[in-house]
């Protein structure tokens, strides 16, 4: 799960990570007041779940409370387009108004899981403000990696080492060490999958401050962080994905025209792949899971069909635990209910396959049966092409 910058900073402050002073608001009037409280000069930052906000015009420096008002007025309600939002952009609902900082140096810090060793790794670089992928691409040696033990936590000697490697000395080095320890503690204790401070600011007076903050959380651990779960912003997610999550369906919208419903994540990915291999383009990833019931299948079908780009649907089920007859009756109900007019190809294999096929055959619906994945993909692509004529 992702959270907004202002939420990440709230969490980090609880762990003692210094951030600029500021408040979040959805009103330009209040933005003016916040800037006034901060002494006049302020930075107004759009709050959306995407990077690159500055380039898209979502971050503005205000030299006075009135300028903060104007900046907030321009940003709140705008459709902010960045390289991470896609061309349609994201509507900005809130801005974070923070004290304008005296930036002497910008660095990079990030913590994520190193899967190869099964431990968190602290990454640091002198190139703050740039995307870490870009830094890695240009010069992999510019990124320092310090893996640490998640149970023992990041140790002071490791923090000292990283701070020295960043070129920090004297008082600034002394401030960087507790910053790093606090960040690592926050990462482990809140079950983050990513905690990124980019840029990490060194101020003119040598303070160490999180100028920006990004935190992603392990969805599987949210059950023990109900406060963080509250931070979920449904407006930042695709409406169809939100709808699917209500029924415990794993759905990700893509931009093709062949909808697919599959059981199992690996098979669902492969179904997308085989659609493309056969010359088509998948409209979504959808894993109905191992033990879906008729209700889930019906809703899965409804969600796939509510994407206007979808011109055909491929249902690919290899039933192990999942029974083919349950899939078949869910599909029949959904199609009858919605009045589906586009071609539907069904490939059923596994438990109760004959019963499933019989339900489809006897339904009177124009569902196209297929044998095997290849046959299914070719049939749906042919049917979509024909429908397009």
């Amino acid at each position: 799960m992702k959270v907004h910058e202002y939420q990440a900073k709230e969490i980090l402050r609880r762990y003692g990570v210094p951030t600029p002073t500021g408040r979040v608001t959805d009103s330009p009037e209040e933005a003016r007041q916040i800037a006034k409280d901060l002494g006049g000069r302020a930075v107004v930052k759009a709050q959306i779940h995407a990077g690159g906000r500055g380039k898209g015009g979502g971050v503005k420096l205000a030299k006075s409370p009135d300028e903060a008002f104007e900046a907030a007025k321009a940003i709140i309600g705008m459709q902010l387009v960045t390289h991470q939002t896609g061309p349609e952009g994201r509507k900005v609902k809130k801005v974070l108004v923070e004290a304008a900082a005296d930036i002497a140096q910008e660095l990079y810090l990030g913590i994520t899981l190193d899967r190869a060793i099964g431990k968190p790794v602290l990454m640091a670089s002198k190139f703050g403000g740039m995307e870490i992928e870009e830094v890695a691409h240009r010069d992999p040696t510019a990124i320092l990696k310090e893996p640490f033990d998640a149970i023992a936590g990041l140790q002071p000697f490791q923090a000292r080492k990283v701070a020295y490697a960043l070129g920090l000395t004297g008082e600034t080095h002394k401030k960087a060490v507790p910053f790093l320890l606090a960040l690592a503690k926050a990462y482990v204790e809140t079950d983050c999958s990513l905690a990124e401070i980019n840029p990490l600011m060194i101020t003119g007076s040598g303070d160490v401050v999180a100028l920006d903050a990004k935190m992603n959380f392990d969805d599987n651990a949210l059950f023990r962080h109900l406060d963080i779960k509250e931070y979920r912003d449904l407006d930042e997610e695709d409406p169809l994905e939100v709808e699917a999550s209500k029924f415990n369906l794993n759905y990700i919208k893509l931009d093709g025209n062949v909808g697919c419903m599959v059981n199992g994540a690996g098979l669902a990915m492969s179904t997308m792949d085989i659609i493309q291999y056969a010359g088509g383009s998948p409209a979504n990833f959808l894993d109905v899971g191992g033990g879906a019931n008729e209700e889930q299948v019906r809703n899965a079908m409804r969600i796939i069909l509510s994407d206007p780009n979808v011109k055909g649907v491929l249902i690919n089920i290899f039933g192990g635990i999942m029974r083919c007859d349950i899939i078949a009756s869910g599909v029949v109900k959904a199609v009858k209910e919605i009045g589906c007019t586009i071609p539907v190809v069904v490939r059923l294999e596994g438990t109760n396959v004959e019963e499933g096929k019989a339900i489809l055959r006897d339904s009177g619906l124009a569902v196209i049966p297929a044998d095997g994945m290849k046959d299914a993909a070719e049939k749906i692509i042919a049917a979509v092409a024909k429908g397009g004529n």
Partner: protein, 292 residues
């Protein structure tokens, strides 16, 4: 060393009294597996269709001689369940549970580091099956399997069934099939399985099914090139997956431009592995690999 399963395998099912635990314990027993005990704290003394339930894994092991565990414990308590089984001396732990927090698995791995004789498979996996011994520790449909010569290892459940179905249709059958699971931190990796297949006299050819995310396939490719003479065919799922999105499995994510299918396919091909372009061609690709 041969397959991790044999006719000597005696299974304790952790979470036997739950819906899934019961269903798959009985399906395993029907297949021929010795399901000797169940564990559900607080339900010790009861029984599920003749399978005795104990409060602790230690008791179950002491009373029945169980040497393998099949775990269906819900995510918040699953890591605890794995550690309990390891502490009780269970040598093979198959964790089916999906949705265990990454930090819990990191803790499990540290706990297991002191117990080198314990093998954990999973979590978030379909389990392990050996058709020739009629032993099934998992949730895979038994009837699609046939005793035979192909070892299959995969990060995905239903995609494994696809490969099983194809090798059965081609008359090759399977020696041992292992689902290592779709989580980013797991107990058994591809190389562990490839090593076992290398030493297993029953296994004459290997199918390895990977997916996007991480670098386990690349590491396996290097190992295959250096160590393995048996023919290997592979398939990598997720060529069309968009970056930055978790494709169902917690581990199936392309992040920072890393973990793409293209990189994995290239690494495997460079190691001499035949990689199927389509999931429908896994069996045929293996036939080509066998013929050399």
């Amino acid at each position: 060393m041969a397959s991790w399963l044999s006719t000597e395998t005696k299974v304790v099912v952790q979470g036997l009294t739950g819906r899934e635990g019961k269903f798959h314990a009985l399906a395993g027993r029907d297949y021929g597996t010795q399901v000797v005990a169940g564990v559900t704290p607080g339900k010790g003394g009861s029984n599920v269709e003749g399978i005795l339930v104990f409060n602790t894994v230690h008791e179950a092991v002491a009373e029945t001689g169980a040497n393998a565990s099949l775990l269906f414990v819900p995510p918040p308590a699953a890591a605890d369940g794995i550690m309990e089984a390891a502490d009780a001396g269970v040598a093979l732990i198959i964790a089916i549970t999906e949705g265990i927090p990454v930090n819990d698995m990191i803790r499990v791995k540290a706990f297991l580091a002191d117990r080198p004789n314990v093998r954990l498979v999973g979590p978030n996996c379909p389990g392990v099956i050996r058709p020739s011994a009629k032993v099934k520790l998992g949730i895979m449909p038994a009837r699609i399997h046939r005793p035979g010569k192909v070892g299959i290892v995969s990060r995905s459940g239903t995609l494994t069934y696809e490969a099983v179905g194809q090798t059965t249709a081609l008359g090759l059958g399977q020696s041992t099939c292992i689902g290592i699971g779709g989580d980013p931190v797991n107990g058994t990796n591809f190389i562990d399985c490839l090593q076992m297949f290398k030493d297993d006299p029953e296994t004459e050819a290997i199918i390895m099914i990977g997916e996007i995310g991480g670098s386990a396939e690349e590491e396996a490719a290097a190992w295959i090139q250096a160590n393995l003479k048996k023919p290997v065919a592979s398939f990598i799922a997720g060529r069309t997956a968009p970056p930055g999105r978790r494709m169902g499995h917690a581990g199936a994510i392309i992040s920072g431009g890393k973990g793409t299918a293209t990189e994995k396919v290239a690494a495997l091909r460079a190691a001499g592995v035949l990689v199927a372009d389509s999931p429908a061609l896994i069996g045929e690709t293996l036939l080509k690999a066998i013929k050399g």
